[in-house]
Symmetry: C2
Subunit: 141 residues, 2 copies
DNA sequence: CAATAGTTTAGAACAGTTCTAAACAAATAA
DNA sequence: TTATTTGTTTAGAACTGTTCTAAACTATTG
């Protein structure tokens, strides 16, 4: 019984973590709850940390960084590079692209199938395409 | 006569700077020489600083940062965001896209007309597209 | 229940970048 | 020219986001 209690928010989260070779600790489960419990999200490390603390989770910033990287490595998150000063993490790991509002620092998903990129030349010898990132930068109209 | 001597490397560089509201100082002219004197380039601030020092230019890192930002503001450079830890500056300000070799941290231009992006949805109310960035991330094949 | 292996943490360390205030150089006025 | 104003450079301090460290802790395994 005690074994199940803390998994109540996401019954399968423990298994998802185990499958990724990560122990389902309190911190990881709580962070997973915040990240995956409410649709697609874009968060920075400090943003998630603040949110966790506000929600009463006792987690250190170091653990937030560790967890974000581990989740990214496990394919549960994707790191988005749009801003020189902070890394953003996207809970939507499917193939899709982004709008980025420069002034607000806000990311908005563009559904995967919508955008098509054509005319990409062959990569240089010995290199293969890993992925194609499209960022549509927006300014106040 | 002394007035022209230090402009020998780039006869019009002084005027380009003046047109941008920047005084053509020794440092700015020397950096401009390195940046624009040899085709399209991709440089980081520290990279340019190292190159300048190696070429015997006495320039501080602070000035390199200032200059890169001023040149970017003047439309002579473009800032490329591909790497979480460093900013890259591109001397090619025309419309074009990039290959990015993750492991080497190297950028390669893709000519502007080559790549086409289609199917971009209308931006949210009150926002306008500023530009569309495409980064094709490469890994060792 | 003990032993082991993985995790968390506070705080120090780090890298890249920006800031500060004083020295300096260029442009302008006289 | 020289004096004055305005813009620029600089060393170093400060700052920010991120990573590292080593000790305490927790989950899992034997």
């Amino acid at each position: 019984m005690p074994k199940r209690i803390r998994d109540k928010q996401a019954p399968d989260a423990s298994d998802r973590l185990r499958a990724a070779g990560l122990r389902p600790t309190r911190q990881r489960l709580e962070l997973a709850g915040l990240l995956f419990g409410m649709g697609d999200r874009h968060l920075t490390a400090e943003g998630l940390h603040a949110e966790a603390r506000a929600a009463g989770c006792k987690v250190s910033l170091a653990t937030v960084y560790n967890t974000l990287h581990q989740f990214t490595g496990a394919g549960l998150l994707r790191q988005v590079m749009v801003d020189a000063s902070r890394s953003h993490f996207d809970t939507n790991t499917g193939s899709h692209q982004h709008f980025y509002c420069e002034d607000e620092g806000r990311l908005i998903d563009i559904p995967g199938e919508a955008v098509a990129v054509s005319g990409v030349p062959k990569p240089p010898q010995g290199m293969a395409v890993d992925r194609v990132d499209v960022v549509i930068r927006l300014r106040r109209a």
